[in-house]
């Protein structure tokens, strides 16, 4: 019988990674994600895996680079300032086509900011983050159960497309305890990694993992290959949840923790005679642009609610290309909007007295 346990979000991420076959974890302490490292430090030695507390986030992501290039399922995790430090490594991994999973349990910024929940790393996560033309696959769970399922899936997606997949959560999700239902066995989709550096054994030509090519024609070909892969990912891996959208007066777009507040807003607004729909992108990249167009077709307006100063709202506007008026409501610094605040904003938009 599959286990149903009460667990903390961060610990579930670590357990999910182990269940997905990850045996190499490299990290550096930072709040509010540190429980992932604690869990790995305890568990990895028991199962013959590797846990290294690296000298920096920069070193940790480069250990992931080495382990991923050597053919292993490898992972690192951090929180906002630490993720900034890993951007160099992520850009290199994108060009070297290395699969791995990275977790960002966001805190608020800019700078050292604060340790409370925020979603202000959206741009960094979905627009590449480091230098050059590339994308991470960005998965945004909104519950502990989804942290489990999407972490396992992140390893499968990373291996299939040879890309880095990011779990983008926030401090609230990482620190929250909820029931999680584990499966008896995981759907681990292993891929052939004939490209990995494992030693030639003098039996094959040498394998090279690199992100540099000084010949423009060849480097353009690398970029074209990456872009073609990103188009495949967009076609195959886009995920979205839509609730109550049919006949809705207004559509709210929200991801992660905030989407849970919106589920209550739907009920509150219903009492006041306003039908609110929710579109929750589960993949932030690829972004569910088509779903946003389709599900909002009958609504008067779209409102994006986020824990930042207005980031995903830009992708919503691009998706709608002027077809609907788009509004924004956000809080920053670790603050979150209340249901009342959101309902008030909806009434303002719809021109009703609040």
């Amino acid at each position: 019988m599959a286990e149903r346990l009460l667990m903390k979000g961060n610990e579930v991420i670590a357990e999910a990674a182990i269940r997905a076959g990850c045996r190499h974890y490299f990290g550096y302490p930072i709040t509010p994600q540190t429980e992932i490292a604690h869990y790995m430090a305890k568990k990895m030695p028991e199962i013959g895996g590797t846990f290294i507390q690296a000298e920096s986030e920069v070193a940790a992501i480069n250990m992931v680079y080495g382990a991923a290039g050597a053919g292993a399922r490898a992972m690192t995790s951090s929180s906002s300032p630490g993720i900034s430090l890993k951007q160099e490594g992520l850009s290199y991994m994108a060009c070297a086509e290395l699969p791995a999973v990275i977790v960002n349990i966001m805190r608020c910024g800019p700078g050292l900011g604060g340790i409370m929940a925020a979603q202000a790393d959206y741009f960094q996560a979905v627009k590449g983050g480091g230098h050059g033309d590339y994308h991470l696959v960005v998965l945004a769970p909104n519950s502990v159960q989804e942290l489990y399922e999407l972490t396992v899936e992140a390893f499968n997606i990373a291996d299939r497309y040879r890309v880095v997949a990011m779990i983008l959560g926030d401090g609230m999700l990482g620190q929250m305890m909820e029931a999680v239902q584990f499966k008896d066995s995981e759907d681990i989709r292993k891929c052939d990694k004939g490209w990995a550096t494992t030693g030639t054994g003098l039996e094959r030509p040498h394998n090279v993992i690199t992100s540099i090519d000084t010949v423009p024609e060849r480097l353009e070909a690398v970029n074209n290959r990456l872009q073609a892969r990103y188009r495949d990912i967009a076609a195959n891996e886009t995920r979205v949840e839509a609730i109550n959208c049919e006949g809705a007066d207004i559509i709210i777009t929200a991801f992660g923790t905030v989407s849970r507040i919106i589920k209550n807003v739907i009920a509150d607004a219903e009492k006041e005679g306003v039908r609110v729909g929710l579109i929750r992108p589960i993949t932030l990249w690829p972004f569910p642009s088509q779903a946003i167009r389709d599900y909002s077709a009958g609504a008067k307006a779209v409102l994006s609610v986020e824990l930042n100063a207005g980031q995903m709202v830009e992708d919503v506007m691009i998706a709608l290309a002027g077809a609907k008026p788009v509004y924004f409501l956000g809080r920053t610094g670790g603050m979150a909007p209340t249901q009342l605040e959101i309902v008030g904003k909806i009434k303002d938009i719809l021109g009703r007295a609040s």
């Binding site: 000298e55 070193a59 250990m63 680079y65 290039g69 290199y92 030693g199 030639t200 992100s211």
Partner: protein
């Protein structure tokens, strides 16, 4: 017909791109000869730096990962933890290792990662056209120290071997040079020894090779060799700064409960996590470091 000289198998047929008189070619060859003679090419996984040797994977026949600037020891750590039985080496220059990568080299050495570093020190940034390096000598003119390196402006050169010899974990630290037949033979012996130590799973090894950069030094190849001999070796004395091979072998044998054979040593080390060598005393190394310090002061 008798073959009197041939290319090592561990080198590809690709001609080197290095400038005339640069000793990267010699050092590549020494690494390749060591892999050949120890029968390790098929087990070897190299890590290339950022710098003139960024594409050494064009020349080495073994598997290679190219790393971001200075991060080779972290990348090598990741590789070695996945394949503890393979031979993992980094090949890094002085900008890569002694400036932007100081954190990574110090901590890989401090953890006692069972990897080998070939550290090529030519006292200048070659690829970006001759800027001051951490290892640039006092008074040395570079494009970013145009009137010579001055301690009050630029600080002092960093002696990597002496610095790493203050750590407990490294098993073998030696500085050699690439400027004469005698020194080149000695360099090959050192690189070979480092690989042998790694094969036995004993711990971290680094060989620093003093080298030349005629292009950016503004000298002929022959003048460069002389300059290395007369100036660099004074600041960077050749010699062994740490050799704890015997202790590490004894320690590994005791820890594993079996002989420290090639496979057994590596496996025991991988399973044990912390290096047996890492807990060995630091007496011998400290002495070597002191000897090095004295030689430098003298």
């Amino acid at each position: 017909m008798k073959t009197v000289f041939k290319k090592p198998h561990a080198l590809t047929d690709t001609p080197f791109h290095y400038c005339p008189g640069c000793t990267h070619g010699i050092i590549h060859r020494l690494v390749a000869e060591a892999l050949d003679e120890l029968g390790l090419e098929g087990d070897a996984i190299g890590v290339a730096p950022v710098g003139c040797a960024y594409n050494n994977y064009e020349y080495f026949n073994c598997d290679v990962q190219q790393a971001a600037h200075g991060r080779a020891p972290a990348v090598a750590t990741g590789i070695k933890r996945v394949h503890p039985g393979k031979i993992v080496f980094t090949y890094q220059g002085d900008g890569d290792l002694a400036a932007i990568g100081t954190a990574e080299i110090v901590h890989a050495a401090a953890r006692g990662e069972r990897i080998t570093t070939v550290f090529v020190n030519n006292a200048i940034y070659g690829m970006t056209s001759g800027q001051m390096a951490p290892t640039t000598l006092l008074g040395q003119v570079t494009s970013t120290s145009p009137t010579g390196r001055k301690p009050e402006l630029h600080g002092y050169p960093i002696n990597i071997c002496e610095m790493l010899a203050t750590l407990d974990a490294p098993v073998y630290i030696e500085r050699v040079a690439s400027n004469s037949v005698k020194n080149i033979n000695s360099a090959k012996r050192a690189i070979k020894k480092a690989f042998e130590i790694q094969r036995a799973g004993l711990g971290y090894t680094i060989v620093e090779v003093l080298s030349t950069c005629p292009t950016n030094w503004g000298m002929s190849p022959i003048e460069s060799m002389k300059w290395l001999e007369e100036n660099m070796i004074k600041r960077y004395p050749l010699g062994v700064f740490r050799d704890r091979t015997a202790e590490a072998k004894a320690s590994a044998a005791a820890g594993a409960g079996v002989g420290a054979g090639n496979g057994a040593g590596a496996e025991a080390g991988a399973a044990g996590g912390a290096s047996a060598a890492a807990v060995a005393g630091n007496g011998a190394g400290a002495e070597a470091a002191r000897a090095g310090q004295e030689a430098r002061n003298g």
